[in-house]
Symmetry: C2
Subunit: 426 residues, 2 copies
Amino acid sequence: MPSRPRTSSVPTPTTREACAELDAADPLAAFRDEFVLPEGVIYLDGNSLGALPKATPGRVADLVEREWGQGLIRSWNDAGWWDKPRTLGAALAPLVGAAPHEVVVGDGTSANLFKTLVAALRLNPGRRVVLGEPGNFPTDLYVTQGVAGLVDGVEHRLADPDDPERIAAALAAGDVAVVLLSHVDYRTGALRDMAGITAAAHAHGALAVWDLCHSVGAVPIDLTGCQVDFAVGCTYKYLNGGPGGPAFTYVAERHHADARQPITGWHGHARPFDFTGEYVPAAGASRFLSGSQPLVAAAALEASLEMWSRVDLRQVRAKSLVLTDLFRSMAEAAGLAALTPRAAERRGSQVALRHPDGYAIVRALIERGVIGDFRAPDVLRFGFAPLYLRHVDVFDAATALAEVVESGEWRQPRFAERATASGPVT
Amino acid sequence: MPSRPRTSSVPTPTTREACAELDAADPLAAFRDEFVLPEGVIYLDGNSLGALPKATPGRVADLVEREWGQGLIRSWNDAGWWDKPRTLGAALAPLVGAAPHEVVVGDGTSANLFKTLVAALRLNPGRRVVLGEPGNFPTDLYVTQGVAGLVDGVEHRLADPDDPERIAAALAAGDVAVVLLSHVDYRTGALRDMAGITAAAHAHGALAVWDLCHSVGAVPIDLTGCQVDFAVGCTYKYLNGGPGGPAFTYVAERHHADARQPITGWHGHARPFDFTGEYVPAAGASRFLSGSQPLVAAAALEASLEMWSRVDLRQVRAKSLVLTDLFRSMAEAAGLAALTPRAAERRGSQVALRHPDGYAIVRALIERGVIGDFRAPDVLRFGFAPLYLRHVDVFDAATALAEVVESGEWRQPRFAERATASGPVT
C-alpha cells in the first residue's frame, strides 16, 4: 500500500548548506545522472514536459534502425510490437496501484477520456449526469461537452472537488452517473481525496473516472485500494515518456466483462486476425484499444518506464514534499502568495503562485535559466520532479525568483511581450 | 491534375535483362538510395509497413536529443511542436490533391474514421444510413458499428464498390447519409472509382468519406477534383512514416465552418491558451484535432514527407503499373490465380494471389528473403513500392515465388506452423 505522509518528514531547510546535506543523504540522488539536463538550466516544468532520460535516445534509435529498418514487418511479431499497449500498460500499472492487465497504453488523454466516459455512462444506464469540476483542465471539460453533444440526454454538472461538501451535495441529488475529476489540479496543484470521493460516488450510485495526468509519477496512486472504476493519464509529464507520448487507460478488472467503449477499432477486437466483419470486444482492458499505436514514440516511453520500475514512489513523495515546502516558503518570504494548498495531503508536486505580472516574472526567470510556466490570468506554476531535481537546485531557483521579484528586473518591457502561443504547458 | 493511366505505358518485360534496362532508365531510381533495405531481402510488404528512409533516424534523434533533451518545454514554441499537426498536414496535402489547410495529421486511422463519420452524419441530419462495403478493412466496419451503437438510429448497410450497380442501387434508396469506402481494397488491391462514386453519392444526397490507407503514396489522389467530403489515412504504409505513425484527416474546405467532430479535446479549440471552460471549435481542419500528438513519431513522418515532397506521383503510378503487371504475369505463369483486377484503372499497387496453401507459400518465400504477407483464408499479398523496388527485384521475387510453388518446398511442415499472430499486416 502506498503511504501518503500527512506532513513532510523532514523540517524545511533554510540554507543552501542544509539543502546540500539533504542531497548528500537523498536515496533518489543517483537518478539525476540518468537524465539529460541542459547546462545552466534549473527545470521546474517537469509537470508539463518531463526531462529526457539518457537511455531514451538509444532505445528509440534501436526501434527505428533495427526493429523497423532491419526487421520491417516481421517486428510486429518478433519485436513484440503487437502487444506493446499491454506490455507498456503492465509496466506502468505499479505506478498507479493497478494489476498489470488493468492498464493499456495507447492514444491520447482526450481520446481515452472520451472512451472511458462513454463506457462509464453505459455501465450506469439509468442516469445521464456527468459530474466534473469547474476548474478542470480544459480538455476534460471539452471532451465531456463532446460526449454530452453526442449521447442523448447527457448533462454536464460541475462541483469543486476541493470542497467535499459541494461534491457530497452534488452526489446527493442521486442522478449522477459518472464523476470525472483530476487527481491533481493542473493550475493550483491541489491533490484530491481519491479514496473519499470515489467512495462517496459509489455510495450514491455513481462511477468514478480519474484523470491522473498531473499525479502519475508525482504521488503514490492506489487505484485498486480506492476502488476507482476508470482512469486515464498522460506519460509525458512526471513519467518522462516524451512530448505528446502515448497515454494510458485503466479499467478496473470488475468492469472487464461489461465495459464497452465506442471507438471500436480492430486492435480492440477479440480475434483481430480473423478479419471478421463483426466487432467482438477483446477480453479485459484490451477492448479499450482502437488502432495501431505510434511505436517510435512508444519506444521512448519504454525506456522511461524501465527507469521508473526502479523507483520507490514513497521516496519520490517524501522528497517532493520537502522540495515544494522549500520553494513555497522562500517564495512567500519574497512576498508571493501561493495558490497551492499548504497541507501535505492536499497538494501534488507543484507550487502555484499568484502575481498580476506573473507572465513577465516567469519570462525574466527563464532568462536566468529557471524554467517554470505561466497560466492566465496570473498564475506562476513550478513543478518539482524529485528524480532529477536536487534540494540545492530548488534553493537556487527560489533565490533567483526572489531576486527577480525584489530587483524589479521583470519590469523590462521585453518580458511583457507575449509569444504567439504560451506553449501547451498543462 | 494527377493523371491515371489506363494501361501501363511500357510493355511488360519478360526477361531479367529487360528489367535491368527499365531500371537504368527509371526516373525514380535514385530514391532507392534514400532507403535502408536489409541485405538479402526483397521487400514486398511496403503496403503494410513502408521501409525506413535513411534520413529518418537522424531527424528522430534530433527531435529527441536537441528539441526535447535541450529545448524541453520551450520546443512547443521554438521547434514548432504546437503546429506540427498542421505543418505535417500541409506537407501531406499535395499527395492527396488537397489544399494545405484541408489536412491535419494526428491520432490513428480508427479514431479519425470515428470523428469524420460522426461529423459527416451531423452534416446530413435527416438521414441515418452509413453505406460501407462488406470486405472493407475490419476497423472501418468496426468503427461504423461503434458509431451506430452510440448515435441514435444509425444503420450500417453494405454494398460492393467494385460493382457500380450495387452502389447505385444502394444510393437510390435515398436514405444514405454517408458513404464510407476504401480507395484501394486492402485484400484484393482493387482501386475504386473515387470520382464516380463520390459524384453518385452527392447526386443522391449523401456525403463521401474515403479511407486512403492503401492508396496514399501508391496512386495519384485528387480529393479536390473528386469533391470528396472527408478522408482519412495512415502514413506508415507507402508513405514510410514509421510503424503505427500518426494518421491524417482531410476536411474539404466547404465543410470547415460547419463540421463538428465529437472528440473535442483542447487542441481542436479556437483559442486553446485561453483555457476557457466552453469548447469552441477552431477554424478549419484544426477542429478535427483532439489532444497532444506523439512528437517523437511525428519526427519520423516529417523526414519521410520531406522525401515525398520531391516525388512525382505520376512517375510512381507509371512504374507501379509495370511492376504489378510483371509480378502478376510471372505468378500466373506459375499457375497462381490473381485476385487483383487486371485493368490498370481498377487496381492499386499490390497483387493479391489465391492459393489454398498460401500461408505456407508465403512463409517459404520469406525464408528465401522475399517478404510478402498472407490474409486468411487463402490470400497471398504482395505490395509494390516504386521508390525502393527495382524491376529486377520484382523479377527475382516472382522467380522465387515460381520456384517455391513448382518445387513444392512450401510443403515442409515447419512452413505450415502458425505464429501466435499473423502480424497486423493490413
